[in-house]
Amino acid sequence: MPGGGGIVRATLATDEDVVRLRQMVRADMITLKFSLTDQTKMVTAASELARNVLRYGGGGHAELDQLEQGMQKGVRVTFIDAGPGIADMALAMTDGYTSGGGMGLGLSGAKRLADDFEINSAPGKGTTVSITKWKAF
């Protein structure tokens, strides 16, 4: 169920876009009075996924949405790219980045930091990842 002013779209093509997206997510969460810890978790998760779009997805965009569900409000960020897609989802969701090889996708980390996590990806079909953080109001 949508709340707020509708979906805001943010291009993800450069490092500057990642920085800008972090600021946008931070601003939305401040507006909804999320705790500093929740803000930091969500902005960090958004940063991971935005970098994935750049590094693995060949660029793409993010969509920010404010949601309402019963007595809760939420911020949802969806990351969309038309890149090669993920061939092995199970492998992609492991903590690859701690292996030191630098090949981890940060997906499992982002999933831990968010409340809701959804991913849709297939080879040749691009990737869509969405994360949501909820707050009681």
Binding site: V19, L36, T40, S47, R51, G106, S108, G109, L113
Partner: protein
């Protein structure tokens, strides 16, 4: 913090360690309101480079929300010690 800035920092820092024959490096991250896996790797790599150059690295100023997030992210900031205040006397 701009991401490319983090990589420039790595280059500049290692050059300074060599030039000044530094035996210790203090990395103050109190200005960072987030540390994601990319930035975490930059810090870790910088500390590892310092170690190869025989300099000890101390990380100070980590914001509490950042610390909580790093634990959940599963990050392992290796190769450097952490101190809770910037008054740590790391010469001793």
């Amino acid at each position: 913090m701009h991401d490319r800035l983090a990589m420039t920092l790595q280059d500049d820092l290692t050059a300074r360690i060599v030039k000044d024959r530094a035996t210790g490096v203090l990395i103050d991250i109190s200005a960072l309101d987030i540390v994601d896996s990319f930035i975490g790797r930059m810090i870790s790599n910088t500390a590892a480079m310092a170690k190869i150059l025989d300099a000890k690295t101390v990380l100070v100023g980590m914001q509490p929300a950042v610390a909580i997030t790093l634990v959940e992210l599963g990050s392992r900031l290796k190769a450097c010690a952490r101190r809770s205040t910037s008054n740590a006397d790391w010469r001793s």
